[in-house]
């Protein structure tokens, strides 16, 4: 009687000791896995590059820009399309299509902005007028100073 009682209590003792060790092992394993995976995961995420904080872009001489043509230039890291209309006026818009990120182009015959990837169409104010683009293109400000073209952030001419 006493013997069986004794063995039973030792049995529960070992089970609880075992489950305690199992739990300890499990937690250690999880911690160890975490310590392995976390650095790898962080490594995969590319480090942030600081913004270039460009406030204006010198786009060259007015005279060198023919009417009814366009040019894509880099504003910080983002491409900007600068268009000189038939009338001689300038327009500057973000060159990244709001649909799926392709670079847009200037259609000379209709004076519109066109994206070849999925047939998206914008007018020269940047408004998305047909096709899949969900949003208008961001406008940039064009300033003419001393016969030179300067592009700055913000809307309007």
């Amino acid at each position: 009687m006493t013997d069986s009682n004794h063995s039973q209590s030792s049995h529960t003792k070992t089970t609880s000791r075992r489950s305690f060790l199992d739990a300890l092992f499990g937690v250690t394993l999880l911690g160890w896995l975490g310590a392995m995976i976390y650095p790898v995961f962080r490594f995969l995420v590319p480090p942030k590059r600081p913004d270039l904080n460009v406030s204006s872009l010198d786009a060259g001489l007015v005279a060198s820009f023919k009417k009814n043509t366009s040019k894509i230039m880099r504003f910080g890291r983002k491409p900007v399309i600068i268009v000189r209309k038939k009338s001689g006026d300038f327009k500057a818009l973000s060159a990244t299509c709001t649909h799926l990120d392709c670079n847009v182009q200037f259609k000379q015959d209709t004076e519109q902005i066109w994206c070849a990837c999925h047939n998206g169409l914008y007018d020269l104010e940047g408004r998305n007028i047909s096709g899949p683009p969900p949003r208008p293109l961001t406008q940039f400000q064009v300033n003419l100073k001393d016969e030179k073209i300067f592009i700055t952030k913000g809307e309007g001419v």
């Binding site: 590319p46 392709c102 182009q105």
Partner: protein, 350 residues
């Protein structure tokens, strides 16, 4: 003492032999479809071999990728051949896997007990497409650059984790040289490793469970079924088909070479006629046709959710199909196939 006896003394080679010999291939009008898995495997082997060769000269990087591919195809002896075989065989690889998948789908070979074979096969198809997508960028030409911009931007539209995923794939906010090295690593190190794991699983399961018997043959008593031993009879036939395929690739490589095109330029407008590889065309064309907004969400997000849902259903067919609705599922498959073919053709015509 024969080699066989020598080996038998060390391990049970007879058991291995009988394991290899036990598979039987049913002989019927659809037997021809049973070559597709083997052909896909053969094309994968070609990809590995030509890929290793190309890696000897290829230099990943925005300033070197395009130049090194140009060097391979114009200066290295038979470099053009290796690149052409790699590109053509990659296309045929995806094509045969698709064909293989659809024949398995329509013969209902995914049913119990072959659910895991189907799942591993679907994983292989998915991996083959990622192989294609990542490899497409490596020559760093204009077409690949914009296709990758679009492809990774689509990833960005996945709800919640999309933006993070897109950044992870691009190694930054935009497709750049950093994307290129990342894709190179994915294409040549990560994918082959993962692919081989699933391939091993797929092949082991087929070997353990044996070939699927078509429904028309299930009614015939087992001893009256027309069967052919897989080894060596079917394997020898397989080899002949592989030889034919290799010849087809050689002909395609010589007479229909892939162009290298212009070097990628992040300040160039996307050229007209930009398109992804043909096996993404039906999705590309769908995105092109969707309006900017559907209900309250953007068109592209809607498209992605639709394809995600469709893909998930397709993956889980063995678990979703109830015998009662077997015919309905076949009709569903026909619909999907028709959709893919129509949209693909449409994409190339417009």
């Amino acid at each position: 003492m024969s080699i066989n006896d020598w080996l038998q003394e060390r391990f049970d080679i007879e058991a291995v032999k009988s394991f290899a010999a036990k598979k039987q291939v049913p002989v019927f009008f659809g037997s021809v479809w049973y070559y597709l898995g083997g052909v896909s495997l053969f094309l994968f082997i070609i990809q590995v071999l030509t890929g290793i060769l190309l890696a000897l000269y290829y230099q990943p990087g925005a300033a070197t990728s395009y130049e090194s591919v140009k060097f391979i195809v114009s200066k290295v002896e038979f470099g053009w051949l290796m690149r052409e075989i790699h590109s053509w065989s990659a296309n045929l690889f995806v094509f045969t896997i698709f064909l293989h998948m659809f024949t398995v789908f329509f013969s209902k070979a995914y049913k119990k007990p072959r659910e895991l074979t189907w799942l591993s096969g679907m994983m292989l198809l998915l991996l083959a497409m990622v192989f294609g997508f990542s490899g497409y960028l490596l020559p760093w030409n204009e077409l690949a650059y914009f296709a990758t911009k679009v492809g990774t931007d689509i990833t960005g539209a996945v709800p919640f984790i999309g933006e993070f995923l897109s950044k992870l794939l691009r190694a930054g906010d935009d497709v750049s040289g950093a994307t290129l090295t990342r894709f190179y690593s994915i294409h040549t190190a990560i994918l082959p490793l993962v692919f081989i794991v699933f391939l091993g699983l797929h092949l082991t399961m087929i070997q353990v469970q044996g070939m699927h018997i078509p429904e028309s043959m299930e009614k015939v008593p087992e001893n009256k079924r027309k069967m052919m031993p897989f080894f060596p009879n079917f394997v020898l036939r397989d080899l002949i088909v592989w030889l034919i395929v290799l010849n087809i690739i050689a002909l395609l490589a010589v007479f229909f070479p892939w162009e290298l095109g212009l070097k990628a330029d992040s300040l160039a407008s996307a050229p007209a006629g930009i398109r992804p590889e043909w096996y993404f065309m039906f999705m590309f064309q769908t995105l092109k046709l969707l309006p900017a907004h559907i209900l309250f969400i953007e068109g592209e997000v809607f498209g992605i959710l639709l394809f995600g849902l469709g893909g998930a259903i397709w993956f889980l067919v063995p678990f979703l199909e109830k015998p009662k609705y077997s015919r309905l599922w076949t009709a569903f498959g026909v619909g999907i196939l028709a959709y893919i073919i129509t949209l693909t053709v449409w994409g190339y015509l417009v």
